[in-house]
Symmetry: C2
Subunit: 340 residues, 2 copies
């Protein structure tokens, strides 16, 4: 079933059929109706390959989602869809696994689909350094700060990760905690992890509290299991603490389990706080205190920045959106004890 068949069937020429299908002007209402009708009832579908082979540009906005199963991304994607639906642009969503280069993928898709701009949901600066120069249309990375990257067409909108961690620690300190262990990602690999760790240290420093990474920090991938292991490791090391800050909710969940297995109750014996604001968190017992990233705001700003770039050629910018501290059941006020 090609437009040729459709042409035959309706008695019109392929040119007319093509124009009707694409909503171009210069097609009589009658012809349009007939053709669209015929297309519908014969289940006709344009062949994207042929279409894009000929096309020099589309009116699509590409969204590359790196990290299937990331709830925050799902939420943001919904917002993006809502925002873009109100414009004349189409959305082209590409989900991909963690283990591929999102930039390489985008480069290929740009060649093949010729979008007007790209939104990256997640991404790592290394990949951008490596491959991004092949892309020359406006792009924006969401949840990952790209301000240090030397690309004039690459914007970013993020939560201030350093500040997130700092305020989380401040919150715990305000509740009387003095010895707070931290678990998170590998600061030498991930920018986000580094920033969150630095934020913690800012807070400790501001209060003159001791923090020794070797003693008080454990790193791993963001997963239930690594959170569990990190906490186990902290406990076994004999380190004393009244609270754990996990740089990701998933790790916090694993940590709570590890605490429990060692006879430590949350929040009775140890307070726990995560980061991300996973929906899951408010269904846990106890509800997980966390720093909620505003997915809606991130997504909205991302779209706005991209559209302005596309339409008005505004230069790249790097923004930050507010976040929210959610004090929840996993957090408890304690008597501040002198530090040891």
């Amino acid at each position: 079933m090609t437009i040729k068949d459709l042409a035959q069937k309706t008695g019109y020429a392929v040119g007319t059929v093509s124009r009707a299908l694409n909503g171009h002007p210069n097609v009589s209402p009658k012809a349009r109706t007939i053709i669209l009708q015929a297309a519908k009832e014969s289940g006709f579908q344009l062949n994207t390959n042929a279409k894009q082979l000929k096309q020099t540009h589309s009116n699509a906005i590409l969204v590359v989602v790196k990290g299937v199963g990331n709830e925050l991304f799902s939420e943001m994607l919904e917002t993006i869809q809502r925002c873009v639906a109100q414009t004349r642009y189409q959305l082209l969503v590409d989900y991909m696994d963690e283990d591929m280069s999102e930039v390489a993928r985008a480069v290929r898709l740009c060649r093949e689909r010729k979008p007007l701009g790209v939104i990256f949901l997640g991404g790592s600066n290394q990949n951008f350094n490596k491959d991004f120069s092949a892309i020359d249309i406006p792009c924006v990375v969401v949840t990952n700060n790209a301000s240090t990257l030397p690309f004039a067409n690459l914007s970013s909108v993020t939560t201030d990760d350093r500040e997130v961690a700092r305020q989380a620690i401040e919150t715990m300190i305000a509740l009387g905690h003095r010895r707070i262990a931290v678990i998170g990602g590998d600061p030498t690999i991930s920018d986000t992890s580094r920033l969150r760790l630095e934020g913690c240290m800012d807070a400790f420093r501001a209060h003159g509290l001791p923090f020794d990474t070797a003693r008080d920090y454990r790193a791993g991938r963001y997963s239930w299991h690594n959170g569990y292991e990190a906490a186990q490791d902290l406990i076994r090391s004999g380190s004393r603490f009244t609270a754990i800050f996990a740089a990701a909710d998933v790790m916090a969940v694993g940590a709570i389990r590890a605490l429990w297995e060692n006879g430590l109750r949350v929040p009775r014996d140890v307070s726990v706080m995560g980061v991300d604001g996973l929906p899951l968190g408010s269904y846990l017992v106890p509800q997980l205190a966390t720093v909620i990233q505003d997915g809606t705001a991130l997504a909205k700003r991302g779209v706005e920045i991209l559209l302005r770039s596309i339409e008005e050629g505004t230069p790249a910018c790097h923004e930050t959106v507010p976040f929210r501290i959610a004090r929840r059941e996993s957090l408890r006020r304690i008597q501040a004890q002198g530090e040891t």
Copy 2:
């Protein structure tokens, strides 16, 4: 930069260049070297659109994943990748949201990418009835029984959902529970939900236990929130029960929270069991009892069945793989009380 340019540059004809680039036979080693070399140093990239437009078939196996964020699917996908990597086939993975027709998507991709076969991770029989007839290559649906569908090229490999539910209920009954509430999906919409509900009723019937769907069953989408709501609703209705069976782990988590908010502890006051075997389950407090679907086995059989279909033309088949009951902390033995 097209193969024409490459041809010009190397002095060969486009046909030769194309063959060299694609590793086809009938190309002299010398020509191959020269052409590949030239391609490399000029950064040449084949235009996928043009390629796929012209190509009559590829050696790709298409995997359509419906339901981003489904951990079971992620696990299966890894297995599939491992299995296919050992063959001469390439994998083409397409993730999509819940709200699109996986079959319509597959139809389009088949037309455009010409794969040798398709693996569906998740899917609904309605969509198959509607659109599948346009696909004539071997396909296999995983986690969804397609044996009732009238397609000779469509296999399926599933966990026996009815049996899963039956055994889950049996497990609870064996622990002394007589009044078991059930929460799950809408049986009129989802086959899986219907089968799981039927499995429950099988078990109740076998033991002569009363089960009234209006009183003891609550339906919703598989989500934390709907699990929470379903349990709240059960509790508020005044219905008495000593256990809840949730047809999905995510619902079980929500249900546990709802119980807790109503002063009911798990497993002290109410036992809870889910289905799926989410990794999360073993990090919860209490660890969530569940029925573990064997993702690896599902995926492996899926690939095996598909490959045999492709290579040997074996007819479609419908298989089942074993599952495992995980008795965990959320389950408690109680004194069997007379039913009310």
